[in-house]
């Protein structure tokens, strides 16, 4: 069975663990490097990317995660997790950790403060039912580079992208009961 490691330093990691398990895969909370042994794929959850950056360093997780991702391990990054995977971050902090260089430019809190947080329907190919996506102080994808597939957009801004074995969402699939995106990710893992 596929084992998905869910980065559990801070944020909505428990909801991701529940979603992965509901899809029939095994999920494991990861706080320290030795917990990565035997993991087939990674989820980087939503939370505060500044706090997560500090905790990645404190717990010695930055290098092990970078190595695994550079080695081709599939990753699903949501919100803060998308920021951690982006090549370029606007309105970030200078000490912000970068775990990969997926060719996208994201602006932290690009949609504004909590009062501007929203839900929106995303059309999904092959499904009649749209996907209800929840955006919380979400990052805005302002540019995408070569090799990036835009899978869904809101008002022409990409909100779900795929690049190689990386799936990244500006919203929170873990906050709804709709498992279609977690299933899509598990298909990517194979």
């Amino acid at each position: 069975m596929t084992t998905v490691g869910v980065l559990a330093l801070q944020g909505a990691f428990q909801r991701h663990i529940e979603a992965v398990e509901a899809c029939g895969a095994s999920a494991r909370a990861i706080k320290l490097p030795d917990e990565l042994d035997g993991v087939d794929a990674l989820v980087l959850p939503g939370g505060e990317s500044t706090a997560m950056s500090l905790l990645l360093g404190a717990n010695g997780m930055t290098e092990p995660l970078r190595d695994l991702i550079a080695g081709g391990m599939p990753v699903f990054g949501t919100c803060a997790g998308m920021i951690l995977m982006a090549e370029k971050v606007l309105d970030g902090r200078s000490d912000q950790v970068q775990l990969s260089n997926v060719p996208i430019t994201v602006r932290r809190n690009g949609y504004g403060r909590q009062i501007a947080s929203f839900e929106a329907d995303l059309p999904i190919d092959g499904h009649d039912e749209p996907y209800r996506a929840v955006f919380i102080r979400a990052p805005k994808v302002e540019a995408v580079g070569d090799g990036v597939d835009v899978l869904a957009s809101v008002d022409d801004d990409p909100v779900l992208i795929r690049s190689g074995r990386v799936l990244a969402a500006a919203f929170h699939p873990e906050l709804t009961d709709d498992l279609r995106l977690h299933k899509l990710f598990l298909e990517l893992v194979g």
Partner: protein, 302 residues
């Protein structure tokens, strides 16, 4: 998926309001009284800051009426911070809440730390687009606040004491009653609703899910990394630290240590490492001396 137009875009749904609380889980929310402290908090890894005029320890010393903060002070903190900014309003003072909402604050705390404005009613929190957090000492109080629209519950503890005993009492009471409700049969749930003075549908929801419908954070008297670990092990989803950081000898390292302790709360090796050489924590107040130091704030709220 396709790139075609999207629709049904809505803001301020319960899912969106509770969603931010989900993102703060496993983190530390720090009380700050100015932009410099807010910067120290963000640098130390806080997931959010609570902007207020005086930390609870000073409110106890100063006495008088404690009110919402000056908008200019909140704006100063919003300018320097990239993390969520929360602010407190008095219990029942919906006009303060309207002002704080107009400042685009990320969360409003209807707080017993400030002097209550209404001795009968709390704020109708459904009337606001910005989500609310409220304090509770027991499950009935928590469910009454949720039925008024609160999207996050925190223990009240005894703010400004540096003494975690009351927060522990509140967490144990809330989570203890939740466990008992999951064991109750259908008929007994009516009795629970009556005894807790809480809406039956929320009691039934707890019986089914085994947890509070919104995240439960710990607040009130936390001062050390060990306090944060205790709160998390007792079932808190995250912690608020008020006077405990900026009333200590050396706030920045203590703030960072509490952040690391909250993430690694089950790991004694990390807790030893982060607890070393932090200097003197805030002195603190015993509950037997509480009447000489401003009394029990947790008794405010109904």
């Amino acid at each position: 998926m396709s790139n075609e137009g999207t629709n049904s875009r809505t803001t301020s749904t319960m899912r969106v309001k509770r969603g931010l609380a989900e993102m703060l889980k496993g983190g530390v929310i720090m009380d700050v009284v100015n932009a410099e402290q807010a910067k120290i908090a963000e640098d130390a890894g806080a997931v959010a800051v609570m902007a207020l005029e005086r930390v609870p320890a000073d409110i106890r010393v100063d006495g008088g009426v404690a009110r919402m903060s000056d908008p200019a002070m909140i704006e100063g903190i919003q300018e320097i911070c990239s993390i969520p900014v929360m602010a407190k309003v008095r219990i029942g003072h919906f006009a303060e809440a309207q002002i704080i909402q107009a400042l685009n604050v990320d969360y409003i705390d209807e707080s017993e730390v400030l002097t209550p404005a209404d001795e009968t009613y709390h704020i109708d929190k459904f009337a606001f687009d910005v989500p609310f957090v409220c304090g509770a000492t027991n499950l009935g109080e928590a469910l009454r606040r949720i039925s008024e629209g609160a999207c996050m519950i925190r223990s009240k503890g005894e703010a400004g004491t540096g003494n975690v005993v009351e927060a522990v009492r509140h967490l144990r009471s809330i989570n203890g009653d939740i466990k008992k409700i999951t064991q109750a049969d259908e008929a007994e749930l009516f009795g629970w609703a009556k005894d807790l003075q809480a809406p039956l549908p929320l009691i039934q929801e707890i019986a089914e899910t085994g947890k509070l419908p919104v995240p439960l954070f710990c607040a009130g008297g936390l001062a050390t990394p060990a306090d944060a670990s205790l709160a998390m092990q007792l079932g808190a989803d995250a912690v608020f630290v008020g006077s405990g950081i900026f009333k200590s000898d050396d706030p920045a390292p203590r703030a960072r240590a509490i952040v690391e302790a909250t993430t690694n709360y089950m790991n004694p090796d990390v807790l030893v490492k982060v607890s070393r050489n932090l200097g003197t924590p805030m002195t603190g107040i015993g509950m037997d001396q509480i009447d000489e130091h401003g009394g029990r704030l947790a008794e405010r709220g109904w």
